[in-house]
Amino acid sequence: MSSTVTIQDRQSKVTRWLLVPGIVWMSLFLVVPIAMIVYVSFWTQTTFNISSDPTLASWKQFFSSDTYTGSLWTTIRIWLIVLATTFIVGYPTALFVGLFVKSKTLSTVLLVVCVIPFWTSFLIRVLAWRPMLGKEGAINIVLLKLGIIQQPIEVLLFTELSVIIGMTQIYCVFMVGPIAFMLSRIDRNIIEAARDLGAGFGRIFWKIIFPLSLPGVVVGAIFVSVMVLGEFATSGALSGRKVNLLGNIIVTQVGSLKWAMASVVGVVLTIVMGVVIAGLLRIVDLKREL
């Protein structure tokens, strides 16, 4: 009896020591830095430095300036639009890969095809949209050649539209993956049974397929939200500095050594992030579904 106790004791000791390094690393380099952002957002900003005297000055400045509050609304607007476009663009692809393709090999090949673009550096992928969208870019050339348009479209580049197109292309794969995964797990017999009972495709889709794929949509939405909300490179490179997201504000504030203001924006971003993810996790209970 006593020997089993010691074995269990020793094993739970082993478990503890296996966990300690990971917990310490994440606490020191993730939790503490975020707490630090909250703390510094209440510091006093002097011209080139910050001191730890507590003040609400930076917070007041944030909420009294149209540039800052505007960037909050821009971030939320772009996030909602990109969430919608990645879903609309990604869902049919996921439907094909996850449900309609019968052969396992073909669906694996299609998923690999979706992942290959990620082997190009993220920043170069963003940059590649410039010769694509510009006034003399590939899209305008093709459309002119086909005679669909007479004049080159100029609103394609250095506008909010170019940011949305770029982000949609970069992030839509994160929608496709989880949705296709959920769709591939649907029991085909249910669909077969519904068809035998005379249900059309539309009815089968809305009553069976879509509800069962919802956890995948939520996971995809979490991926896309996490990445879009923290974005600044795509908006910086494709909007010609016209679209300023919260991330862009942080970068410019740090660039001019306004650490306190950068921290305020950081806290706002953290709050937005927390609300979004908590909200998404409420729609679907992930632990039960996965």
Binding site: G22, I34, I37, V89, F118, T120, R125, W129, P131
Partner: protein
Amino acid sequence: MESRFIKPALGVYVALFVLFLYGPFVVLTIISFQQGPDGGPQFPIVEWSTYWYRQVFGLTPPSRIAPLPFGEALIRSLVLALMTMVVSTVLGVMSAQAFRRSFKGSTFVFYLIVLGMMVPGVLTGLGTSLLANNIIGIERHWYTTAFATHVAYTFPFAFLVMLAILNRFDSSVEEAAWSLGVDPWTTFRKVTFPLIFPGVLSAMLFAFTLSLDEFPRTLFASGRDQTLPLAIYGTFSVEIHPNIFAFGVLTTLFSFALLSVYGILMALSVRRAKKMAMQEDIA
């Protein structure tokens, strides 16, 4: 039936989707063969040439356009990715191994680790810089502060990969070793590790590629010396030339090579496992 119509329609849609995914890369590749050094990063192609590829390797006579300052940055990024890969994978294997037994507070620890892939990089970068500047009072470097943030980002991926592998792991082989009196560490080294090695390779690949391309975390946390993504970002603010596109094509080819190595290692380890199983059968 309706699905007879829907399936081809979806097939066509997927073809368009792939075109959308690859369009920019195709255009990038075309423009990387632009004439140099006067051809700009746009259409039309004045004349096809490999000028910009030669320029990336410093094989062209000096011109108005400075060569990309990527040499040292590339080495730093590779070293950083290797360091990150080793530490993340070790942490990932350790934590996932611990999760095989239920323990108090496991949900909390799980979310603490997964938080690392949820928090935007710009925030971890900012927080770590603030901490280094104002509390600890150390200089920021790519191999200290940036390294810490890279591991905090890639460790969750390694952890999840290992968790998925260990969940499907048949622990009866370990119990057999234990009952023969083999100590736990030797059991792990000789029995568990060889069996989970394909998963370890995937975790390593994840950590390496994520770190190599990581940009927002590094931007604030790396201090003076640039890593590769920072050097690329530096070219954003000034004029863009086709050399950056040529460089993009080359790095993509490098990724292909890296993945081929991974594929070969994976195939070898699978084949070895099969061979071992066959030997057991014979014995």
